[in-house]
Symmetry: C2
Subunit: 288 residues, 2 copies
């Protein structure tokens, strides 16, 4: 990991967690059980890569100050909601995530479904406070049937099927790419980025998101529970559509490398792209 | 049912359904299966009482024109999402609603969960187009853990317990009341209602919503599948907290009558309250 990224994570992660703590309802507020479940899932040790991208996109586009943090956290809250629902027995049926029992294993299925629903609504409550309806609309589109949910549906439909590179791309652009894209767009729109900058960082995030999903799949193949912290082989178990399955491990990594190159290329030279480039590079280096 | 309400339903229901049809993704757009599931649930013959209240609240508060319809539909879309998740095996485990198999019985649990999630996101995409972030924030709050989701959680927690009138009120104010309230507030805020009018119609809807849930519980007791169209006794089956269970049938109906009276009383005399009053009265007369 490049120094600039390590320092950014050291600086931003405590801030992000601090804001998340303030934004989520207290465990002592009734109905306690669902607030506990929401906090359990949000504070389960995520890398906070998506909110970091929102914050950096905001600064990259000329924004300054701390006002961006709640909206960066809203993206992480959506990520947490989608993981809770994704892990449910009716979906991927995962018992562990990041070395901890999944939400429904601890709180039961009903509370897990409702905790996901509550995080989903909370994210929009927070995003509305940005004062910008375009941010709300943009994120809502990204997580609907043409984005995140659409990717999950296709993921389920392709289980056990022969998949082409195009099929996997379709799934991952939605399942992972859409929220990466939303993350940077929230930051850039909040900073009043012009259309060129917004388009550039959108394309950057599309490529990074897709590369991230490929290295995720590759880590699943060679990973172990301790390192990656989720059910190893859980996607293999279900015969999920993945890049390694569609094109083989070596070609999958080559595609990820090309995507990271492309991501860095679309950023205009006259801006400070150093941290964004380091994030893109990290996607290829990561071991967890 | 009063003539003015019958005519309003005859006039508005086709319009509401027409807008819903335009707002929901086509069944032919991929991923088809989730779009089919969303449409199946939204077009399963609801009374459209909530969007009707949004439209009437908008006009009552001085609004005119057709711009309100999409936002009224967004409320109905949220209602559909909450019913899909509420019917899931892990929740109320209902096989029928409105005489038709529930979403998960037709499409499976995974697609039902995702269809609910997609409707949830779609509602916010539509609400954002109102241009008013306060509408987005208001609705998001109403359906989070201090509203709709909170009511569902309490409903689950109180299953099989002895309940007081206060407990049932806590549940139903959230589970049913919150979305009724959001429905009228969206209309009034979109019409730029002043604070007095907004408070009045909010209190009206709180009372109507609670009365609606009481008569719903009473219909469950005496109803039959043909009339009410959902699993009869489904709430009794699970030993749910209901007004009839907490205070008996007669007192429950008396409470509903008082709530309807109160609802009508809070509306200021200098406005045209006729349709709102007819809706409140209908809650006591309804047989389905």
């Amino acid at each position: 990991m490049k120094d600039i990224l390590r320092k950014a994570i050291e600086r931003e992660l405590p801030q992000i967690n601090n804001y998340l703590d303030k934004l989520l309802p207290s465990e002592n507020a009734p109905p306690e059980i669902v607030h506990k479940a929401m906090r359990y899932s949000v504070f389960s040790g995520g890398k906070r890569l998506r909110p970091l991208m929102t914050i950096e996109s905001f600064r990259w586009a000329g924004g300054s100050g701390d006002e961006i943090y709640p909206f960066a956290c809203a993206i992480e809250i959506i990520h947490a909601y989608s993981l809770i629902h994704d892990d449910l027995p009716a979906m991927d049926d995962d018992d562990f995530r990041r070395n901890k029992p999944t939400c429904h294993k601890v709180f039961g299925e009903a509370i897990a479904i409702l905790a996901g629903d509550a995080l989903h609504a909370l994210a929009f409550e927070i995003l509305a406070r940005s004062g910008k309806v375009e941010i709300v609309e943009d994120v809502a589109k990204a997580i609907g049937t043409y984005g995140l949910v659409g990717g999950q549906v296709a993921d389920i439909e392709f289980e056990g099927c022969d998949v082409s590179e195009g099929d996997v791309r379709f799934i991952h652009e939605r399942k992972t790419g859409a929220l990466f894209t939303a993350a940077v767009r929230v930051g850039a729109i909040f900073a009043d980025a012009d259309e060129n900058a917004l388009n550039a960082i959108t394309n950057y995030a599309k490529n990074v998101g897709l590369a991230f999903q490929i290295t995720d799949d590759l880590l699943d193949l060679k990973g172990n529970l301790k390192k990656k912290g989720s059910n190893i082989y859980s996607d293999l178990k279900l015969d999920k559509a993945t890049y390694p399955r569609a094109v083989g491990k070596e070609r999958a990594f080559k595609i990820a490398e090309k995507l990271v190159q492309d991501a860095k290329k679309v950023l205009p030279d006259d801006r400070d792209n150093e941290l964004l480039n380091a994030i893109a590079d990290f996607v290829l280096e990561r071991t967890y």
